[in-house]
């Protein structure tokens, strides 16, 4: 074997071009890493917002809870703004795998919040509008995380929106079971009806293209069954006693307890 001296020298055009490739590649990988990190934060914070919203059934004032959740979502949007800034002038699909989990969890949280405010299914347009960030003139002095930046928008691919919505129905199911046990007579039926709508919506298109969609469709179907079973139980249990007697039971129960009657959610 010949002892061959490597031909590398910095003046070689090949080396020069690979130096360019190196910096391009490092730039891309670094950006990807930064996006992954922000996305993890988005996921955690969104999850916490969802948990917070679930507290509306535990006697705390609903408006307060939803207001607090809204603040949490505003904080999440600050992180999403960072993502949008990183993606300025980029092809967002190049980095989608980095921030998709966070974005989906945010959509789940925001649609849950929206629904609990009584506004039904949040539209993609609405989600999109929330992610248009106007330019800021001065650096935010408080935490320095969002210094002055131009107007940016985080574009939400429809498929990410839909995957977030699918997850959102899981939270609806949880809300339904909770509301059954807290004695709400109407909300479970409302939720059941809404979930059927979403289910039929999901049934109306082919999931052939997306493994993720068909997996989530499966979960959605199970959630719907749980909700239908809960409504069934409500119905069946409620039938052993005439309606007016039932009302009596409720009102007596109400007065015996704190006397405060919880509002419906929608």
């Amino acid at each position: 074997i010949l002892r061959r001296e490597p031909k590398v020298d910095e003046n070689s055009p090949i080396v020069a071009s690979f130096r360019t490739y190196q910096s391009l590649m490092d730039r891309k990988n670094d950006k990807f890493e930064r996006l992954v990190k922000i996305s993890r934060d988005v996921t955690i914070q969104s999850k916490r917002a969802i948990f917070h919203i679930h507290r509306i059934n535990s006697g705390v004032d609903k408006t307060t809870v939803l207001g607090e959740a809204d603040e949490k979502l505003i904080a999440v949007r600050e992180k999403l703004c960072q993502i949008a800034l990183e993606l300025q002038g980029e092809d967002l699909y190049q980095y989608i795998r980095a921030f998709s989990p966070g974005l989906q969890e945010y959509i789940e949280a925001v649609s849950f919040h929206h629904y609990c405010l009584g506004k039904g299914l949040v539209s993609l347009t609405q989600v999109q509008t929330d992610l248009e960030f106007p330019a800021t003139e001065k650096p935010t002095t408080e935490d320095g995380e969002c210094p002055s930046h131009p107007a940016v928008t985080l574009y939400v691919p429809p498929i990410e929106y839909m995957l977030g919505i699918a997850d959102f129905t899981g939270e609806l199911m949880r809300l339904c079971i909770t509301s059954v046990s807290s004695g709400d007579m109407d909300l479970p039926f409302q939720l059941c009806q809404f979930m059927r709508e979403v289910y039929h919506g999901f049934s109306s298109f082919s999931h052939a293209g997306s493994w993720e969609l068909s997996r989530k469709m499966h979960t959605l179907r199970q959630s719907l069954h749980k909700v239908e079973n809960a409504c069934y139980t409500l119905q069946v249990r409620g039938l052993e006693i005439p309606k007016h007697m039932l009302a009596d039971v409720f009102s007596s129960q109400d007065s015996e307890d704190t006397g405060e009657r919880r509002n419906d959610m929608s």
Binding site: I1, L2, R4, P6, K7, V8, S12, P13, I14, V15, S17, F18, R19, Y21, Q22, L24, M25, D26, K28, N29, G89, D91, L92, Y93, Q94, I96, G120, L121, S123, L124, P157, P158, Y161, M162, F194, R196, E197, V198, H200, G201, F202, S204, F205, S206, G209
Partner: protein, 235 residues
């Protein structure tokens, strides 16, 4: 049954999906055509591995260069089907075709000039944009994958050149591939497909060096002083 707004949401999404599938279908058709042309070009270029390949290099290059006209037209058609700034949304559809076409372009350029193709030359030869910002381009990873395919072909060429009686080519190839290898070593690769393919480059380099060794110990390669001339003769 469903409230109007919910229905609207889903019917809009249905529209989106249908459109998406239509685009993908059109892209698939275009990519299949590109692959077909690529296979044809490859068949022509494979001629250089034949015993008579050395002498025919010029004509082989000429014929395949002409065939790139089709590739350019097909890439233009493909690019036209693409929504703006959504290259990576459909990346998987043309990833392999692009790598293959870069390889073919790089192979052609090497055969013509003993030089490594630049991203600019590749873009020009394939009729695509040089920069992502300008539209349909070749992703850097795919470009590099194409170059690694070239290195593999080079090791075959070194072997077959000797079989065909051309003892000077292996040395030139060795120098070329060593430079390529040095270039790749500048990169910080992740544990991905590119890294795996790059690991294979070492074996190509090794094979070529072995050919050079075989030629050298038998005194078959031209004296080093004459190397520049030898190159001139062949081109």
């Amino acid at each position: 049954m469903a409230s109007t707004s919910t229905q609207e949401t889903f019917s809009k999404f249905q529209e989106y999906l249908t459109k998406d599938q239509d685009i993908r279908e059109e892209i698939r058709v275009s990519v299949r055509e590109i692959e077909q042309t690529a296979r044809e070009i490859l068949t022509v270029l494979q001629g250089v591995h034949q015993p008579t390949g050395c002498k025919d290099t010029v004509s082989i290059c000429k014929r395949s260069r002409e065939m790139f006209v089709n590739i350019r037209r097909q890439y233009k058609e493909l690019a036209a089907k693409l929504p703006a700034e959504q290259y990576y949304r459909f990346h998987d559809h043309w990833r392999f075709a692009n790598q293959r076409c870069v390889f073919l372009a790089a192979f052609l350029v090497y055969l013509e000039s003993d030089k490594l193709i630049t991203r600019e030359e590749a873009a020009e030869l394939l009729g695509v944009q040089q920069r992502r910002e300008d539209g349909f381009h070749i992703d850097l990873d795919d470009f590099l994958m194409g170059l690694l395919q070239l290195a593999n072909e080079m090791s075959r060429l070194a072997v077959n050149s000797v079989t065909a009686g051309d003892y000077s080519r292996p040395t030139k190839i060795a120098n070329f591939v060593a430079e390529l290898d040095a270039g790749f070593r500048l990169l910080n690769l992740k544990n991905d497909a590119l890294r795996k393919r790059f690991d294979g480059l070492k074996y190509d380099v090794k094979k070529i060096e072995e050919v050079v060794y075989d030629v050298t110990i038998r005194g078959l390669n031209p004296p080093p002083a004459q190397k520049p001339e030898a190159q001139t003769e062949e081109q």
